[in-house]
Amino acid sequence: MTARTQIAAGLIAVVSALTSLPGTAQAQDLRALARAHAAKNAEAPLVLTGPPGDYQPKNVHDLARESDVVLRGTLTPIATYLGPNEDRILTDYRIDVEQLLAGKMPPMTSEKPSNIPPRVLTVYGGELRLEGVWLRASDPNREEIVAGKSYLLFLMPSRRDDPGYYEIYHGGIFEVSSDGVKPLLKGGNKVFKDIAGSAIEDVIANVKMARRGP
């Protein structure tokens, strides 16, 4: 690359940086959309769907080995808020652990109650009011989470990078019932062929076996 072309490339980079400054109208800026919507029809909610995922089949052994934590528990919504880029709505659920099957979680007790770290699952979706407008978002990849139901969860650390915050790994959230475990993931019966419909006891045994290693 010649000096002249290097300068030209540098100028292009500077110009492009100027044209994409933060604060300009970015793609899917929910706050800007809500503001514009409020001026037209504040009564009607704004609805939003999440990005479609590409979930390739995964067996219980790989799912368990690749997850940070595997547990059975219930979920209770505690907060719904705008994501860091303000392009999505996120909801935090408190995880009440019934049975920790694999991995480690922060302890639930501390000498100083204020130091008790949370056990939180963050997922796409939820409902909140922004700029005078209700926004409703849902994850197209899975069914809604129902508070109080028992779930089998395969978790990874949250991308917000806070201790005690988790996200679902590879769509690994299953409703537990007497009929067996049912994936919430759309098309989950094909993605989790050896899990869907199995008895929870069998899945737990497989998870523990996978985490013990060969």
Partner: protein
Amino acid sequence: MTHNHCRVLLLGLGLGMGAISNTETASGDSSLLTARPADLCVAPGALEARHRRSIEARPGRMQGCPPIPSGGGEDLQVFITKADASCTVENGSYVRALTLYELHVLAEAYGQCTLRGPDCSPLPCTCVTTGTQLRWPSAVGILLINSHPLSPFSVGPIYPNGVLQQWDSRVPGQASPPGRGWSTSTLGEATLRFTEFIFTTTCNILPSSKVVERTAYVLECKPEWFTGGTPPVNFHGPQTGNIKIVLPSAAFENARASAEAAAAAWAKGLGRNISVQPGYQTCESNDSLCIQLKNDHGTQPGDPVGCASLGTATYNPTTGVWAGSTSVRFEPNWTGGHPDNLTRTIAHELGHYCGLWNREHASCSSAGTIMSAGNCYSPDPPPAGTALGPTSEDVLPVMKSTYGNQVRSTCGW
């Protein structure tokens, strides 16, 4: 004696005239009403003979006893199921190539024709019932109309087993053959035209046929649509308008050629303008025809699994049309991949923008659809034959369903 005979005869003729006139009025033939009494004062038997000769000499005289139609109505219901009865093919839905389907009909046609003839013994002549004909569906023919150069094809008729005014090929013993099998390898739109042929009887009770058509779209790979919401809608970009893809900075310049190739492929498939804008810019939040390249996939909480994604937007809850701009999101380390992989990745995400979901069914391949999984940033070229843009299997579900009849049912996979 002769006088008395004539009086009796006149009395008899009067009854007879009255009886005949009811039908004559209908047929317009009143010649019998014009007979003079003098003509009737003839020897016993002579009048009957004269009338018989008159009727025989003039064929039109037989119209004096026309058949009487009664009733009517017809219906034809069509049932198309997969041969294993696991699903039903709805009109405008999707079926799988080289898969056996059963075609059944419930045919109905009602009405009857009362046949009559003159009874002139004893005189005067009266019309009497000589028989009854039923109006009935005598056959249902099935024709396949598709894009094959030899189309249309006869799938074959179905006949009732006997004279039945209502018969159902699904009921054992009512039809031969008991339904028809249908399978096709010709992809695309296929119309099955069912024609019920109706025996209209001597009374010619119309109509003589009833036609029911069922259209299905024949694909190899199971179609899937990007749906959600309550009530469910199919998310998609606006049906009209020029779609623009924008690069926010020079950092995305390596993706320009791939974006142009993906845009051109979709533009050709959908028959509309989709182009990559020159220079660098960002989308306005509310511009649903604008798609921006980004490189933050996988970094945000709530991001799904996959090597890229469509940054979605708000949508119209009634129509599913995006209400804001969207984005094609690469991973942060997206550079260095083979351009064909990048083309396929962008075309795949544009498929989501157009309303398609991932197509991961075993019937799908990377050659058959752009919506199967790809290797987004591999430096190696994709396998030979891999689709780099939408195939007809991708375009059809968008054009016929998302932008068409909104039918999203499938049968055969």
